[in-house]
């Protein structure tokens, strides 16, 4: 447990964000009512996912430049954690949608593209498991990871915004979270919550990478 300060920070920030999310004042808005507090949970999952998947693709690129297997371990574990956050994001989104939009899955452009993006990343994980040779697996899946990331960005940030039929904030003429962001009283919980959940993801990643390194050493 060396270098444990950031783990302590994770726990402190998460505790603060849970307390703040439940107890701080939130704006009283029609339809949303108290569910606006989901901002601090559901939306942070997606921000965390984007950060984790970005780090994953950086490690993939670094692997392709150096052929260092350790870097590939980081790439896949960051992708794993990112996909976990994404699945949690889509599941929590469905719960929230059920009460705000009337049904858990309305085929909303944002929901559809998020689902496609997650399937692309699931294919990355399946692809890895289908390859026997570890060097080959690392190389092919690193290249795939770059393409997956290149598909993720337009799927989440561009295509949903080009439609005019989305219910999701920030898309199809709907007000985005930048209008929530204007509100500093939500921001004081929202931003620390993003950092906290992302750090929790990094902690999970570090545990799994260390396990993998141990296993590599054991196999030698």
């Amino acid at each position: 447990m060396k270098k444990k300060w950031w783990k302590i920070l994770t726990v402190l920030l998460l505790t603060y964000s849970i307390l703040g999310a439940f107890l701080f004042d939130v704006p009283r808005l029609a339809i949303l009512n108290e569910t606006i507090r989901n901002l601090h949970f559901h939306v942070t999952m997606w921000f965390g996912m984007i950060i984790l998947l970005t780090v994953s693709v950086i490690y993939s690129l670094r692997y392709l430049r150096s052929n260092n297997m350790r870097l590939d371990h980081y790439a896949v574990e960051f992708a794993n954690a990112g996909v976990l956050f994404g699945v949690l994001g889509i599941a929590t989104g469905a719960v929230w949608a059920n009460y705000s939009w009337g049904e858990p899955w309305s085929g909303d452009p944002k929901q559809n593209s998020a689902a496609i993006a997650l399937l692309i990343y699931l294919a990355y994980l399946v692809l890895r498991n289908s390859l026997e040779d570890s060097q080959q697996r690392a190389k092919i899946s690193s290249v795939y990871n770059v393409f997956a990331f290149a598909a993720l960005i337009p799927l989440l940030f561009i295509l949903p915004r080009m439609t005019d039929s989305s219910l999701h904030p920030g898309n199809g003429g709907n007000p985005g979270f930048n209008s929530y962001d204007l509100d500093s009283r939500l921001r004081v919980v929202f931003y620390p919550a993003i950092i906290a959940w992302t750090l929790l993801g990094v902690w999970m990643v570090s545990l799994r990478v260390r396990y993998k390194n141990l296993k590599m050493k054991w196999d030698d």
Binding site: L14, I18, L29, L32, Y74, V205, L207, Y211
Partner: protein, 92 residues
């Protein structure tokens, strides 16, 4: 001179239009949004303090998960020492 005035005018118009666009949002949050009692919120739950019961339960769950993670972290550190891997082994 006239050109400069025109430029400034266009700039001002641009910012005005941006401002108007920003106000299109159905969820424009202002200070009044915090006091708008016409919107139903869980005020009773806050008044009688039952919300703290929920918060206590969630925090307890979270604490349990943290303890689990810390113990797992320690186990892995111990193994790393035994296997002669550098105890660092964290994110590069």
């Amino acid at each position: 001179m006239i050109k400069t005035v025109k430029k400034i005018f266009v700039f001002v118009l641009l910012f005005v239009s941006l401002h108007v666009q920003a106000q299109d949002g159905a969820y424009e949050i202002t200070d009044e949004s915090y006091t708008d009692t016409s919107v139903e919120m869980a005020d009773v739950m806050r008044e009688n303090g039952k919300i703290y019961v929920v918060v206590a339960v969630v925090l307890m769950l979270f604490a349990g998960i943290v303890v689990y993670l810390v113990l797992l972290d320690r186990k892995i550190s111990r193994l790393e020492k035994e296997m002669g891997l550098r105890t660092k082994g964290e994110i590069e």
